[in-house]
Amino acid sequence: MTLADMQFQTPDLRLASAEIFMLVMACLILILDLFVKDKKRTLTFVATQLTLVGAAVVTFATTSGDIGYTFSNMYVGDLLSDLLKLLLYLTVIVVLFYSRGYILEREQMARGEYYTLALFATLGMMVMISANHFLTVYLGLELLSLSLYAMVAMNRDSVPATEAAMKYFVLGALASGLLLYGMSMIYGATGTLEITGVAERLYAGQADRTILVFGLVFLVSGIAFKLGVVPFHMWIPDVYHGAPTAVTLFIATAPKLAAFAIVVRMLINGLIVLAQDWQSMLILLAVLSMAIGNIAAIAQTNLKRMLAYSAISHMGFMLLGLVTGVVGGDARFALNSYSSSMFYVITYVLTSAGTFGMILLLARGGLESDELDDLKGLNKRSPWFAAMMMMMMFSMAGVPFFVGFFAKFSVLQAVVAAGYLWLAIVAVFFSLIGCFYYLRVVKLMYFDQPACSTPLEAPLDMKILLSANGLAVALLGIFPQALMSLCAFALLRSL
């Protein structure tokens, strides 16, 4: 190590200003909440939402479009991170709006901690998105996970929620262990944990391949745990089902963006030289996820559990875009493939938010309304929201004119372009199977008679937001170009 390396540099705080803002505000809100007497915690809620908006402003204002590193290259700010963070804030804002009514009806959740934990989870995801160091990835991931464990367990008296939190914690800790072990192997092989540094060593061919691939297996397993793809998916159905729906909504949306980011950072930025190795692992995971996710979802009677399996299959489908980036050492498809995956994740988060939002809309009076049969005859009770839910379902099934079709389309075209015709056929085959259970939801809402005929009652803000969410699914399905090119542009400027 030369003297130059030892010099202390003042980190460029501008790149991390959004994170600093978020951290300061989260701490302030934690203190502020102590002085809030209001049982509804309206002030805390408003302050949290304003913090997210403020973070968006900071992120937007500091966007430069260039790639910048700070904190001794542990941290990166680029267009990709800015775009994903902005989407992240938006998702969390929407999620908190949807959850508001639900948590107010549950005494143990209607506390200030719910909002602070959400902010800390968001901070964790921001750190993941901007990580340029394996330990930074780990740091962000743990901050996210620990916040989520607590959020799942917040409804203390609920046995399923406690069980879900235990499962989530134990399996999450195992996944973190696998991830750390993989990182240590990579460190052993390359002598660095800095992601761009690892990539440089690999390009120079200075690393022991056996150790690298050994570490890669653990790294991919850890990522697979966090994404929730088969065979590391076991926690997903239990946690989605057991957690309070508001928390399920949180888990099912925002973390997918962050998980995509760490895949890009670690596998693509760091280990692209090993693409052949991790791509073949991901193909296996993708095919298994689509198969097991779609088939198991058919057997579910609980809507949250069904959506959990559907999430597994969607993450599998999303992986297809990542496995076709490098073909035979040729990376000319990379941008097309990775941006299709990114588009897929974003549209999935949008649709998933709306779907769980619907479950929250149906749940009233402190009761859950998450069985499939609770949707029966929704068209009679509220034609408008039945139509919204129908659009989400057709979008998830990949039927045009809804955005989910273009997500599947863009991933499939990447797969076909890379020459994996068989993989595309497997993917559409399992989509066909998956279509069945989405159609069943539509059937319950439209073809069946309602068990109770009480009209839906919900706060106006939720109704408006949920409608906007549904219309976005339809509008992005008619005009997908802007979001598609935004994804491609962000990746082009960041890779």
């Binding site: 068209n379 034609p383 057709f394 039927v399 045009p400 004119f401 079709f405 273009f406 389309f409 863009s410 499939l412 075209q413 076909v416 372009a417 015709l421 595309a424 056929i425 559409v428 085959f429 989509s431 066909l432 279509c435 069945f436 159609l439 539509v442 059937k443 439209y446 073809f447 997908p480 170009q481 598609m484 090119s485 491609a488």
Partner: protein
């Protein structure tokens, strides 16, 4: 006329009308919903008339073309246009929509707005399928049109409606997902173009052509439907409400056949020639075997559903003999079948609305109570059996003539089943309409009212007019069909 985006109007007027109708909300506003739907459907029909009057029948090129970029990232365009093959179907579809709205006028009394909106939106989507010149645009319309029909069968259908709706949706989706992969393959092969016209010119080796042809075949065979993937159709027809059956038979089945002409033949001409035996074989099975199956049916709707499959067998047979007479005969058959099967399903609906049964055995002597209806029903039964002077005769006769030129035994097999066709239709007619009044249900029947008379008269004008004077229909097809056949005769293998 060149400045007016007629095709866009034909697509979006019904869809927007459908959304407006949806906005009328609950059944309290049902009369308003009905009026608005009729207005939308008639407006949708009116804008398609200039497509015929302004059509240049001398050129095989696409007309009324509209081209706007839609998704530049994948070079997808909003590219519309019609030629002599597709133009008539846009008009037919818009016409059928009017009849469907009228057909449900008094019969549908729950969720009226949603019912009518479903048909209007579907009408727009179907027009989109017939006028799309961009592969992805075609696919998007093709898939999206499943949603309204799924809902229509599932909400307003009969006792086994859920089963029928799922079967319909999943069968069709199965075919079209492989079609999507075929489209993506051609997108890559053509160097990034989704234009169907570019694909027509694109050279392709024998193996890819064969695979593409098979992918198209699965997608379109399900939709036509051809034996052995026809099983969803009788279920869907039997369970669907009358309007759903009319659209299904008159338009939705034509999509598959249209797909053969737009995709299979011009994109994979060598494979089409090579595998024409397969398609002709399947068509003959449909004509002969399904004809006998129809003979055994006890449910009138099921009988007409099977007869639809047999009639569509003539269509696919006509396409794959590669002669102008055969293709034009098949196209005439498609349009004729639109009128005749639509009318048949409507007639059955008229009886069902009164007696709530579709079983042949529950009827007998209907003529004694419904003489006007019996006369119309007679006409359509004759047209369904292919009697000369009805539209049913023209198409089948042209296809059989083409078959004689192609191969005597094919012609023999196809022609001999015209007897079976006459047998099942007329036998059903005899059992339902003639004889003494069978039971008190029949005794209570009342003859058709003015609305039903009007709809039946519309269909009758179509079926008779086309049978007596088919030239206005065939003359617009000539140049497009000849150009298509010239193109298909050229090998694409380089």
């Amino acid at each position: 006329m060149s400045g007016t985006p007629l095709l866009s109007l034909a697509i979006w007027i019904p869809i927007l009308a459908g959304l407006v109708v949806l906005a009328t909300g609950s059944d309290r506003n049902a009369p308003l919903a009905r009026m608005l739907s009729l207005l939308g459907a008639v407006a949708g029909l009116l804008v398609t008339i200039p497509l015929y009057t302004g059509f240049d029948m001398l050129t095989p090129a696409m007309q009324f073309v509209e081209l706007k970029t839609w998704i530049p990232r994948f070079n997808v365009n909003y590219h519309l246009g019609v030629d002599g093959i597709s133009m008539l179907f846009v008009i037919l579809n818009s016409f059928i929509t009017v009849t469907v709205i009228l057909a449900g006028w008094q019969v549908i009394d729950s969720k009226v707005a949603q019912y009518n909106a479903g048909f209007l939106i579907m009408s727009g989507l179907l027009n989109g399928i017939f006028s799309a010149l961009d592969g992805l645009l075609f696919y998007v319309f093709f898939e999206a049109s499943l949603i309204p029909l799924y809902l229509i069968i599932g909400i307003w259908g009969g006792p086994r409606r859920v089963y029928a709706a799922f079967k319909f949706f999943l069968f069709t989706l199965m075919g079209s997902l492989l079609f999507l992969i075929a489209l993506l393959y051609m997108f890559i092969q053509s160097g990034g173009s989704f234009s169907i016209l570019d694909w027509h010119q694109m050279p392709l080796g024998r193996t890819p052509q064969t695979w593409l042809f098979l992918a198209f075949l699965i997608a379109f065979a399900v939709k036509v439907p051809m034996w052995p993937v026809h099983t969803w159709l009788p279920d869907a027809h039997v369970e669907a409400p009358t309007g759903g059956s009319i659209v299904l038979a008159a338009i939705a089945l034509k999509l598959g056949a249209y797909g053969f002409l737009r995709f299979s033949l011009p994109i994979a001409p060598d494979a089409s020639h090579q595998l024409s035996g397969l398609v002709i074989g399947l068509s003959l099975i449909a004509i002969i075997y399904i004809g006998f199956v129809a003979l055994a049916q006890e449910d009138m709707k099921k009988l007409v559903a099977y007869s639809s499959i047999a009639h569509m067998g003539f269509v696919t047979l006509g396409f794959f003999m590669f002669s102008a007479l055969g293709v034009e005969g098949a196209l005439v058959q498609m349009i004729s079948h639109g009128f005749v099967s639509g009318a048949m399903f409507f007639s059955i609906g008229v009886m069902y609305d009164r007696a709530h049964s579709r079983q042949i055995a529950d009827y007998g002597g209907v003529v004694n109570r419904m003489p006007k209806f019996a006369a119309f029903f007679m006409l359509f039964a004759m047209a369904n059996a292919g009697l000369p002077a009805t539209s049913g005769f023209v198409g089948e006769f042209m296809v059989i003539l083409a078959a004689v030129e192609y191969n005597f035994w094919v012609a023999f097999a196809a022609a001999s089943t015209m007897i079976v066709g006459a047998a099942y239709t007329l036998w059903m007619y005899k059992r339902v309409v003639f004889g003494a009044v069978a039971n008190h249900h029949v005794a209570e029947l009342t003859d058709i009212n003015g609305r039903e008379f009007f709809i039946l008269a519309l269909f009758a004008v179509g079926a008779l007019g086309m049978g007596l004077y088919p030239q206005p229909f065939t003359e617009v097809m000539h140049s497009s069909v000849n150009e298509l056949l010239r193109h298909v005769a050229l090998s694409k293998i380089q």
